[in-house]
Structure formats: structure tokens, C-alpha cells
């Protein structure tokens, strides 16, 4: 059963949902959000897409197999702990770099950001594989 209303609305919504997920992922360190919440939002977006257009379209849009999203996510999270080891600190200690110091608006980027991206990908891969598996059933 395909609903034209749902399909049209979805086409508008999915992009926004993905942008919102990305926004949640980046803001997580200071405001409510983070990799886990962002993955849930993105997963919900893909679920909506799958309900409206069918799982085949979702697979075509994602291109990668869900496992190939989740596993690299785990790998990124694991690797984000390595800079600390190289610096002689315990594994997964946060290491921070300051980029550009103009007018006090320095951007600090740290390994926890990459860890969070790893969390995002791992959880998103898990959600996608379950939802697509069930939809195709």
C-alpha cells in the first residue's frame, strides 16, 4: 500500500531529518544530542522513507550495506582511542587540537568527536539492518 500523501511529505521530510540528525551529532558535546540520539533520528528518517517508498529505494539511496556502516563505525570509535595511546596516555583519553585562534573564536576539535561519529555510524548501521530486514520480510 503506497500513499501519495505520505510519499510527497516524506520527500520533503527526509532531507530535513537527515540535516537535523547531523546537527544533533555535532552539537552533542555542548547541548542535548550526540551520536546516539543522532543515529536514532536518522534511523527514524530512513524508516519513514522505507515505509513510504519501500526498502529497495532506501538501499539504493544508502548504497552501502548496513553492515558496512556499522562495522566501520566500530572501527572509527576504536581508532579514536589510539592518538591518546601514541601520546602515552590511557586508551580513549580525549586529545584536543585548537584550530585558528582569531578573535577568541578558536575551534577545538578532539578525538571524542570522532568517537561520537563512530557511535553514530555503529548505531545507524544496526537500526538500518533491522528495519530493512523487517521491511523486506
Amino acid at each position: 500500500m503506497r500513499s501519495v500523501i505520505l510519499q510527497t511529505a516524506t520527500r520533503l521530510m527526509v532531507g530535513l531529518i537527515m540535516i537535523f540528525a547531523f546537527y544533533l551529532l555535532l552539537r552533542g558535546h555542548h547541548e542535548p544530542g550526540g551520536g546516539f540520539a543522532a543515529a536514532l533520528v536518522a534511523g527514524t528518517g530512513f524508516a519513514l522513507f522505507a515505509i513510504a517508498e519501500g526498502p529497495a529505494k532506501v538501499r539504493a539511496a544508502v548504497r552501502l550495506r548496513p553492515t558496512l556502516i556499522g562495522m566501520p563505525g566500530l572501527a572509527i570509535a576504536a581508532l579514536s582511542g589510539m592518538p591518546a595511546v601514541l601520546a602515552g596516555k590511557p586508551y580513549l583519553t580525549g586529545i584536543w587540537w585548537r584550530l585558528g585562534d582569531a578573535g577568541g573564536g578558536a575551534l577545538t576539535i578532539g578525538t571524542p568527536l570522532f568517537f561520537d561519529i563512530g557511535v553514530f555510524l555503529a548505531v545507524l548501521g544496526a537500526i538500518l539492518s533491522i528495519i530493512l530486514g523487517l521491511e523486506e520480510h
Partner: protein
């Protein structure tokens, strides 16, 4: 029957060897001989130092907290074993390249083979008991993979599992023994045992340590009553049998007994157990060798016999007795590996290794016949062969045993006489006599395959003529490594006319008689084995079946597939586990909060209650799911009101996703009306349980609130979050920084759970 099955599988493999494909991987396998060759060269390089009594040590820390260090030590004993392992490793690897050519899984084969060899090298060179245990388990796992290498044959799988269970259980016993040893004041470091006698023998834990260590050694070295797994393990490819069961794996138990000898040996318990168990194993397996027709199985029984002899001699504590064990170790490794490899050649060339189908191959494959002749003469203990030296020292040792010298001597003579007959069978039956018409044309194999038997057969003659050299350069230091008294060790060809020489003559004549009676003896043994009321192998089978049955019964009872049942159990346990101790302690003070303080929350509570009511009365699933959604959203609102926006956000998102997933699953189930037929009293019981669980949780939370909260953690995170971790969102900072390792564990679980879930979904799809 096992033998026939294994026979067919192996000859299938041999038949496919003409196939071109896979030849390249076999050639690559040939080059992997570099690994054992390198180890061999390294050991030979260390040899001169070790031969004059030096001990070479290496050490790196691994896990210092539990006293586990990568400590290695090369002394005489490690050198003797190491030379056997790496030397046989070179031969077996070269041989396998020819034997396995064309097999589709050659890469895996060589990986397992070298993995096994490295584990074995690890055992004999480890200077730390925990490290030794790690390698010990390595040999168990790799031998499991190698015995079950032909994984499409159910016999091979069963035999592999049998070997794994028996030796794995022994490994656990060994670990217990090692830990007890530490408790009793011993050290994990082997080098320290030799330095001082720390009174383990007098300690109250000594009997337990002894039992556990002996269990480990006896299971690995297939001593009675754990002997049954070794002949079955012959379902491995033949070069593997040669390596695992003649030269290395089963010798690990012997190695263990030698290593522990200075620490645990010499007591009455040690001597009685080893002499009796070893003697029984030796004679019983030598007798059994006459039953089967499969040459590999015959050889397997003679291996168990040899292990029994070594165990028996390790029961002594004087230099001649221990020398007998160490010498026979080398004698046996040489002739047995050569014989196994030769059997592999026969099987490969003639397509069978059944004694009744072979004959007259001597002229067609002279090199193989010569190698087998050298090995068989050594096995029978003819003068000028190394086996003779081994046998002479054995008789000298048996007469000098501290415990039961008469029993030891009789057992040694009997077992050796039986060996003479078996050696004659193994040499004469395939190579002499008339050739059966059914046999195909055969010839000697390529050099990689005949090199092994010939290179292993040659030393049996050289060492047999110049035993002084091998005893001075190799055996003496090996014995001294576990014999701190350091009595002189000499092997000689000619000792003069004495009792051992007389016994040797008796052995050869008795062997000739037994050879003449081999057919009735074989029939007798088969008959006896069939009529034994209780056999070790049968006990294993019964035990395994009982275990599997009880596991199945338990699983069917507990995991019966009813979600209702699971939930009932979980909630019952929750209610009982919380309510029972609480009532016992009698501190059930609950202060109801004043509704006026949380007026706005009351509205949310009403929403949640209404949602719950909808779920209960819903006539279809969609309605029920909607009701659940309302409950979840209400809970999220509560979080938001009390200042936890992160948790509220996550709760809301989870709720949404759950709704989607649940509707995908539940809407496919049969209509809800079918479920309504549950009997009234069941519904009442379920309701009571639900109310009970709710009551327990509510009162628990209200009770907790009566106590002041410890806010020191909150203060720490609030203070450090921005300063140490550059983040203002404490929840997220905890997740990705302070407690990142926990989070990593959690996302690993998430990914694996999804993987498992998808497999389950796929599996349910198949029938439809």
C-alpha cells in the same frame, strides 16, 4: 568401522590429488617449511651452549599483574623437544606439500599445521607456567581443527570433538593444578624450581596439585583411562597424524611430567601412579594394536604403548630410569614419524592402507621400503638400531625402578615383545610377499615426500651405532634439566653380558612367537574389546549423550518460545528478589510526595495511565501499539520536566523507533482476538503479577528517595566536564569521554545484536 570411514575419506583426498587446481597453494605450502627450518637452525645454533650446560633465557613482561610474563628458557630438555618438534615440522611440511597437492583447503591446512607447531614450541620453551598453559590450550585448539580437518565427514568431526573434550578437560585440570601450586607457595617460573626445593611435596595441597597436573598430562598423552581418544584422532590427514600423534602433541603430557618431576616427583603417590598407569597403558595398547587392519590405527596403538612406557619410567627418580624415558622419547619420535609418513605414502600411491589389501610393494617403492625397514628394526629394537639402545636402557631402568621393579620389568618385556611383532607386521605385510591383483601400479613418491621417512630413518641407524654421541650431546643435558642430582648418563652399544641383554634376547624370541600367533591374538583382542562390560570410550559416549540430553531438556523447558512465559519468570524473579530482602530488613518506609509540589506532572501521569488503560482494553494491535506510544511519550515528558533533556530526547526517539519496529512485527501476527481466549484465572494471575511488579518498583523508588543522594559524582562531572573534556553537555561528555570504553562496549553489543537479529529474520524467511 571408524577406521574404514577414515580410510575412505583419506583415499578420496589422495585420489583428488591428481587434480591441477590447488597445486599452487601446495607449492606455497612448500615454502612455509622456512618457518620450522628457521626454528631448527636457531636451535642448532643454541645447541653448543646448551650441550655444556648453559640455560638460555628470554623475558618480556606481558601481564605483570597476574605474574604472566613472556619468559622463555632453552635448556637440555627444551632443546631435545624443540629439535624433535621443529625437525619433524620441516619433514611434515615438505611432505604435506606433496600429500595435500590439489586439496581445496591447503591454505587453511598449513595455517593450522604451523599454528600447532608454534604452540608446541611454546610449551617446551615457556619458562612461565601460565604461559605454558596458554600454549597448551593452543595445541588443544589446533589439534581439534586438524583432526577435524576433513570437516565434511561426521566421523572426523566426532573424533575431533572427542579429542577436544578430553584434552580440553585435562587442560582445565592443569590450570587448577597451576593455580593451586601458586597458592601452596610455588612459583610460576620454572627456572626457580630447580634453584630451591620449596617444600611443595610436604604441603597440604600437594595431593590436589598432583592429581590435577597428572590429569592434564594423562589426558594429553592418552594414558589409561583416557587413552581412547588417540586412535580415533587418526581421522586427521596422515602427515598430521605423524606430527600430532607421533612426534609432538601427545608428547606434551610427557614433557609436563618431566618438567614437574623435580617439583612434584619422587613421592610414593607419584611413583605408584605413574608406574602402574604407564605399565597398564603400555601393555593394553600394545595388545590392542593387533585388532585393526588400518595401518594408521595399528600405529596409533603403538604410540599409546610408547607413551605408557615413558610415563612408567618417569615414575622413577634415579638417573637410569629417567634416561630411559628421555632416550625412548627420541627413539620413538624418529621411528614413529618415519612410519606414519611411510603409511601416508603407501596410502597415497596404492590408494589403501589396509593391511589385508597390501603386499609386495618393496620392489616398486624401494626408498620407502628402506625407510620403513630402518624404522621397523628400530621399533623392534634390533642391535645396531637406535631402538636397541633405547630398549637396553629401558630394561636396566625397569630393574632399577624404586616402585614395583618386577611389574615394570614384566610390562616392559611384554610390551616390547608385542612391538617386535607389530614391527614385523608393519614391515612385512605391505612390502614383502605376493602382490594382490587389485593393487594399482605404484612407485616412490616425489622427493619432498620420501625425504621425511628417509631423513628420519637415517638417524635411527647412526644413533644406534654411535649412542655415546647422542647421550653426551643431547640426552644427558635433557635428563639433568629435570634431574637435579645430575648423575652420569651414558648410552652404550655394548654393556657386556648382563640381564638387560638377556631380556633383549627374550623379547626378540617372544616377539617372533607373537608374530606367528598374530591372527588368533587379533581375533581374541577384537572379541575381548567387544565383550568388555565397561570401556573408557563407551563411558565417554554415554556421558556425552546424557549431557546433551539434559542440556536439550533444560533448554526446551526454559526457552520454550513463549514470550509470556519469559516475562512471567523475569517479573516473578524481580518481585521476589526485591520484595523478599526488603521485608526481611523491615525498612519499608515510604513517604508519598505531596501532589501540590508537582502539579504539572499530574497531567502527564494521567496521560500515562490512560495509555496503559488503552493497551489493556484494545481490540486490535494498532490500538495497543498506539497506547504504548502514549505511555512512552508521557515518560519522556516527565524526564523533560525534571531537567533531563538528553534523556527525554533519547526516550522520545527510542519510543518512536520502537513503535515503528513493533508495528512492523506485530501487525503481521494473527489478530488479537485469538489471544483473548486465555482462561480467566490466567488473566487474573497475570494482572496480579503486573500489579505486584509495579508496586515493588514504585515503593522501591519512593523508598530510595527517603535517603540523601550522594552528589559527589555529579559534582565531579559538573566541575570537570568543561575544564577537562571541553564539553558542556555532561551526559554526552560522560558517554564519549569519561566513560568512552563503556560506550564502546555498548555499541559493539548493539552492532552484534543487530547482526544476530538480521540473521534470525532471514532464517524465519526461508520456510515461506
Amino acid at each position: 568401522m571408524d577406521g574404514e570411514q577414515a580410510q575412505r575419506d583419506d583415499s578420496d583426498m589422495a585420489a583428488s590429488s591428481s587434480a591441477k587446481h590447488g597445486a599452487d597453494t601446495a607449492r606455497a605450502g612448500l615454502y612455509t617449511a622456512v618457518l620450522p627450518l628457521g626454528l631448527l637452525i636457531g636451535l642448532v645454533y643454541c645447541w653448543p651452549a646448551v650441550a655444556v650446560g648453559e640455560v638460555l633465557r628470554l623475558s618480556w613482561p606481558w601481564i605483570p599483574a597476574i605474574d604472566l610474563h613472556l619468559q622463555f628458557r632453552i635448556d637440555g630438555l627444551a632443546l631435545l623437544f624443540g629439535l624433535i618438534v621443529s625437525g619433524a615440522g620441516v619433514m611434515v611440511t615438505l611432505y604435506s606439500a606433496g600429500y595435500m597437492a590439489g586439496h581445496p583447503r591447503t591454505g587453511r591446512y598449513f595455517f593450522f599445521l604451523h599454528g600447532f607447531m608454534l604452540s608446541m614450541m611454546g610449551i617446551v620453551t615457556a619458562d612461565n607456567l601460565l604461559l605454558l598453559f596458554v600454549f597448551w590450550e593452543g595445541t588443544t585448539v589446533f589439534s581439534y581443527l586438524l583432526i577435524g580437518f576433513d570437516n565434511e565427514s561426521s566421523t572426523a568431526r566426532d573424533n575431533a570433538r572427542q579429542a577436544l573434550l578430553v584434552t580440553g578437560a585435562g587442560g582445565l585440570a592443569l590450570l587448577i593444578g597451576i593455580l593451586l601450586l601458586k597458592t601452596a607457595g610455588g612459583s610460576y617460573t620454572i627456572s626457580q624450581w630447580m634453584a630451591d626445593d620449596n617444600g611443595i611435596r610436604a604441603h597440604g595441597l600437594y595431593p590436589f596439585i598432583l592429581v590435577m597436573v597428572l590429569l592434564g598430562a594423562f589426558t594429553k598423552s592418552a594414558q589409561f583411562p583416557f587413552h581412547f581418544w588417540l586412535p580415533n584422532a587418526m581421522s586427521a590427514p596422515t602427515p598430521i597424524s605423524a606430527f600430532l600423534h607421533a612426534a609432538t602433541m601427545v608428547k606434551a603430557g610427557i614433557y609436563l611430567l618431566m618438567r614437574f618431576h623435580p617439583l612434584l616427583g619422587g613421592t610414593t603417590a607419584w611413583m605408584c601412579t605413574l608406574v602402574i598407569v604407564g605399565g597398564i597403558t603400555a601393555v593394553w595398547s600394545a595388545l590392542q594394536a593387533f585388532g585393526p587392519l588400518d595401518m594408521k590405527r595399528v600405529l596409533a596403538f603403538t604410540t599409546t604403548m610408547a607413551l605408557g612406557m615413558m610415563t612408567m619410567f618417569l615414575g622413577g627418580r634415579t638417573a637410569p630410569v629417567l634416561t630411559a624415558a628421555a632416550t625412548f622419547l627420541l627413539v620413538h619420535a624418529l621411528y614413529k614419524a618415519a612410519l606414519f609418513l611411510a603409511v601416508g605414502i603407501i596410502d597415497h600411491e596404492a590408494g589403501t592402507r589396509r593391511l589385508d589389501r597390501l603386499g609386495g610393494l618393496g620392489r616398486a617403492m624401494p626408498l620407502t621400503a628402506l625407510a620403513v625397514a630402518a624404522a621397523a628394526f628400530s621399533m623392534a629394537g634390533f642391535p645396531l638400531f637406535f631402538g636397541f639402545i633405547g630398549k637396553e636402557i629401558m630394561y636396566k631402568a625397569a630393574l632399577a625402578e624404586d616402585m614395583f621393579p618386577l611389574f615394570a620389568t614384566v610390562a616392559a618385556v611384554l610390551a616390547n615383545a608385542l612391538m617386535v611383532a607389530v614391527a614385523a607386521v608393519v614391515l612385512l605385510k605391505p612390502f614383502a610377499g605376493r602382490r594382490p591383483a587389485a593393487l594399482p601400479a605404484v612407485h616412490d613418491p616425489p622427493w619432498t615426500m620420501w625425504l621425511g621417512p628417509v631423513a628420519l630413518g637415517l638417524p635411527t641407524i647412526v644413533f644406534g651405532i654411535f649412542p655415546e654421541w647422542v647421550s653426551g650431546q643431547l640426552i644427558e643435558q635433557a635428563v639433568w634439566a629435570f634431574h637435579p642430582a645430575r648423575e652420569e648418563v651414558v648410552l652404550k652399544l655394548w654393556h657386556g653380558f648382563n640381564i638387560p641383554l638377556l631380556l633383549s634376547a627374550v623379547t626378540l624370541s617372544l616377539g617372533a612367537v607373537i608374530f606367528g600367533l598374530r591372527h588368533p591374538l587379533g581375533r581374541l583382542m577384537t572379541g575381548i574389546e567387544a565383550r568388555l562390560p565397561l570401556s573408557a570410550g563407551g563411558t565417554y559416549d554415554t556421558g556425552l549423550q546424557l549431557f546433551l540430553k539434559s542440556a536439550k531438556a533444560t533448554t526446551n523447558k526454559l526457552q520454550n518460545g513463549s514470550l509470556h512465559f519469559y516475562l512471567t519468570i523475569v517479573l516473578l524473579v524481580l518481585v521476589a528478589a526485591v520484595a523478599w530482602p526488603w521485608m526481611q530488613r523491615g525498612v519499608l518506609t515510604i513517604a508519598w510526595p505531596d501532589p501540590a509540589d508537582h502539579f504539572s506532572a499530574l497531567g502527564v501521569v494521567v496521560v500515562i495511565a490512560l495509555g496503559t488503560a488503552v493497551v489493556l482494553v484494545a481490540k486490535n494491535r494498532l490500538m495497543a501499539i498506539g497506547g504504548l506510544g502514549a505511555v512512552g511519550a508521557g515518560v519522556a515528558l516527565v524526564f523533560l520536566m525534571f531537567g533531563a533533556p538528553d534523556i527525554a530526547l533519547t526516550q522520545l526517539l527510542i519510543e518512536t523507533l520502537t513503535l515503528i519496529i513493533v508495528s512492523l512485527v506485530l501487525l503481521r501476527l494473527p489478530p488479537l482476538e485469538a489471544a483473548k481466549k486465555r482462561r480467566t484465572y490466567r488473566r487474573v494471575m497475570d494482572g496480579a503479577l503486573a500489579l505486584g511488579a509495579g508496586w515493588v518498583m514504585t515503593s522501591l523508588l519512593l523508598g530510595v528517595l527517603q535517603h540523601p543522594l550522594d552528589r559527589s559524582l555529579t559534582a565531579f562531572f559538573a566541575g570537570q566536564s568543561y575544564l577537562a573534556a571541553h564539553g558542556r553537555n555532561i551526559v554526552n561528555v560522560i558517554l564519549v569521554d569519561f566513560r568512552a570504553l563503556d560506550t564502546f562496549g555498548e555499541i559493539t553489543v548493539v552492532v552484534l545484536a543487530a547482526w544476530a537479529g538480521v540473521s534470525l529474520i532471514r532464517k524465519t524467511k526461508e520456510p515461506s
